[in-house]
C-alpha cells in the first residue's frame, strides 16, 4: 500500500489540483480497479485526438519556421510541444476527476513526492502498459482502502 500519510504545507495544498488520488467508502478492490481502468481509458482517448493536436502544433511551428528560419522553427516547435504536454496532463487530470466523480469517489490531494510513487503523467510520452497497470492497481488499492483523514478536495 503506497504511503499517503503526510503533514500538508501551503505549497502542497496549492498543488492538490494536480496531485490527487481517489477514495470511496464500501468499495472493494476489484470494483475500484474496474472504475479507475474505465476512467483511464477515457483519459487515453484515441490516437485521432493526438493527431489533431499535432497538426495544430505543426501548423504553428511552421508559421514560426517561415518567419524565423529553421532554428526559429525548432525552438517554436519545442515551446509548442512543451505547452501541448502540459495541456495533455491537464486533460488527463480533468477527465479522471470528472469520471471518478460521477462514480461517487472523492478526491484527496497529497504532495507530489508521495503522489509520484503510484501515479503517472502523460505529457510527451505514453506510459508502458505493464507500468500503467501496476500504477492503476495501486490507485485502486487506495481507492478501496480506509478513508483518508485530510486533503479532501471539495
Amino acid at each position: 500500500m503506497p504511503n499517503i500519510k503526510f503533514t500538508p504545507t501551503a505549497a502542497d495544498e496549492s498543488d492538490y489540483v494536480k496531485y490527487f488520488f481517489f477514495n470511496r467508502a464500501d468499495t472493494d478492490f476489484a470494483t475500484a480497479y474496474a472504475d479507475i481502468a474505465e476512467c483511464d481509458n477515457y483519459a487515453r482517448g484515441r490516437p485521432a485526438g493526438r493527431a489533431g493536436s499535432n497538426a495544430v502544433a505543426s501548423a504553428v511551428a511552421s508559421q514560426f519556421g517561415l518567419a524565423g528560419g529553421i532554428i526559429g522553427g525548432m525552438i517554436a516547435g519545442a515551446i509548442v510541444e512543451a505547452q501541448m504536454a502540459s495541456d495533455r496532463r491537464k486533460l488527463r487530470r480533468g477527465i479522471m476527476r470528472t469520471c471518478m466523480g460521477f462514480k461517487g469517489y472523492s478526491a484527496f490531494g497529497l504532495p507530489k513526492t508521495l503522489w509520484s510513487a503510484f501515479n503517472f503523467e502523460e505529457g510527451s510520452k505514453q506510459t508502458e502498459e505493464d507500468h500503467r497497470m501496476g500504477f492503476l492497481q495501486m490507485q485502486a488499492k487506495i481507492a478501496s482502502g480506509p478513508r483518508p483523514t485530510l486533503g479532501e478536495i471539495l
Binding site: N41, Y42, G45, A48, R50, D87, G94
Partner: protein, 271 residues
C-alpha cells in the same frame, strides 16, 4: 473491386453534413434527412451516427485495399533486402561500401499494422458554430443540418482545431434519435456551461412546433423520438462529461446511465 471502392468513397463524400445558412432555404432531399438542433457551446454541437453493417463493410474494404497495397510494397522491400543482405554477407568491401550500412529487414505488414483510424471516427458529424440559422441573446444557436439518415447520438461539443482540452464528449450518458430519409426532425436543445467542458450539459427534448423557422419555408420539423443512450468511447480524446438526467427518459445510478422510460434498466454502451 475498384468500382466498389469508388462507390464507397463517394458514399463517404455524400455523408458529409450540410449546415444551412440563415438566408438559405431548406429543400427536400428524399435520400437525406434534415435535423434542427440547438446548442450554446461555442464550438457548436457534435453528433455520432451509429456504425451500421454497411459502414463497417465500407471501412473493411478500404482497409483491405490499403493492406493489399502495403503488402505489395512490403514484398518489393523484402526482395531488395534479401539481395542487399546477400551482398553484405559476401564480405566484399566494395559491396559494403556501396551499401554503406547493414541492410535492415523491413517490418512485416499485417492488417493490424495498417495505420487506419477507427471506423467510429468516420461517423462523427461536427456541426460547427457557424453557419447557424438563428441565435438568441444568451448565445443559443439554432442549426439546420442535412445528414445521412440513421440513428444518431448527441456526442458532445466539437473540437474543430484539434486543440487539447477543447470540446467535450457526452461519453458517460447521452440521448439518441433515429431519422429516416426525407424526414425533417427537431432533436431538441443542449445547454452546456459556457466555459466548462467537464460539467454536465442539460438537454431539453424537442417540443411540437418549436422549430417554426423561416428557412423551412412552411415545412414543420416534427419532434424526434428521443431515447436514452449509454456510454461511448472517447475516440476524440476530448474532455468527458454527460447529460444531466432527463425527466422520464435518462437517469443514473452513480455513473451508470439508466433507461427511465423503460423501467430504469442500465443502458448498454453505444457501439
Amino acid at each position: 473491386m475498384s468500382l466498389l471502392l469508388l462507390s464507397l468513397a463517394l458514399a463517404h463524400v455524400v455523408s458529409a453534413p450540410h449546415q444551412y445558412k440563415d438566408k438559405e432555404s431548406v429543400g427536400v432531399d428524399p435520400t437525406m434527412a434534415t435535423i434542427v438542433v440547438r446548442s450554446n457551446y461555442y464550438t457548436g454541437i457534435e453528433l455520432f451516427r451509429k456504425v451500421e453493417a454497411m459502414d463497417r463493410a465500407s471501412w473493411d474494404s478500404i482497409r483491405q485495399d490499403a493492406y493489399a497495397k502495403a503488402a505489395k510494397k512490403y514484398q518489393r522491400a523484402l526482395k531488395t533486402y534479401e539481395t542487399d543482405i546477400k551482398m553484405w554477407n559476401s564480405g566484399s568491401s566494395y559491396d559494403r561500401q556501396l551499401l554503406r550500412s547493414k541492410p535492415v529487414k523491413p517490418a512485416e505488414v499485417t492488417l493490424d499494422t495498417i495505420p487506419m483510424a477507427p471506423i467510429e471516427l468516420d461517423n462523427y458529424v461536427g456541426v460547427g458554430r457557424k453557419p447557424f440559422v438563428a441565435e438568441d441573446t444568451a448565445g443559443m444557436r439554432t442549426f439546420i443540418v442535412k445528414v445521412v439518415p440513421g440513428t444518431y447520438y448527441l456526442a458532445g461539443a466539437p473540437n474543430p482545431m484539434g486543440a487539447i482540452g477543447v470540446g467535450t464528449c457526452f461519453c458517460m450518458g447521452t440521448v439518441g434519435f433515429t431519422v429516416r430519409p426525407g424526414q425533417l426532425v427537431d432533436v431538441g436543445t443542449v445547454r452546456g456551461p459556457p466555459k466548462d467542458f467537464y460539467a454536465p450539459a442539460t438537454f431539453t427534448p424537442p417540443a411540437a412546433g418549436a422549430a417554426a423557422l423561416p428557412q423551412l419555408a412552411g415545412r414543420v420539423a416534427e419532434p424526434a423520438t428521443i431515447f436514452a443512450a449509454g456510454k461511448m468511447a472517447n475516440f476524440k480524446a476530448t474532455p468527458v462529461t454527460r447529460l444531466n438526467p432527463v425527466q422520464g427518459m435518462l437517469g443514473y445510478d452513480r455513473d451508470v446511465p439508466l433507461d427511465v422510460a423503460n423501467g430504469g434498466q442500465p443502458i448498454p454502451a453505444v457501439r
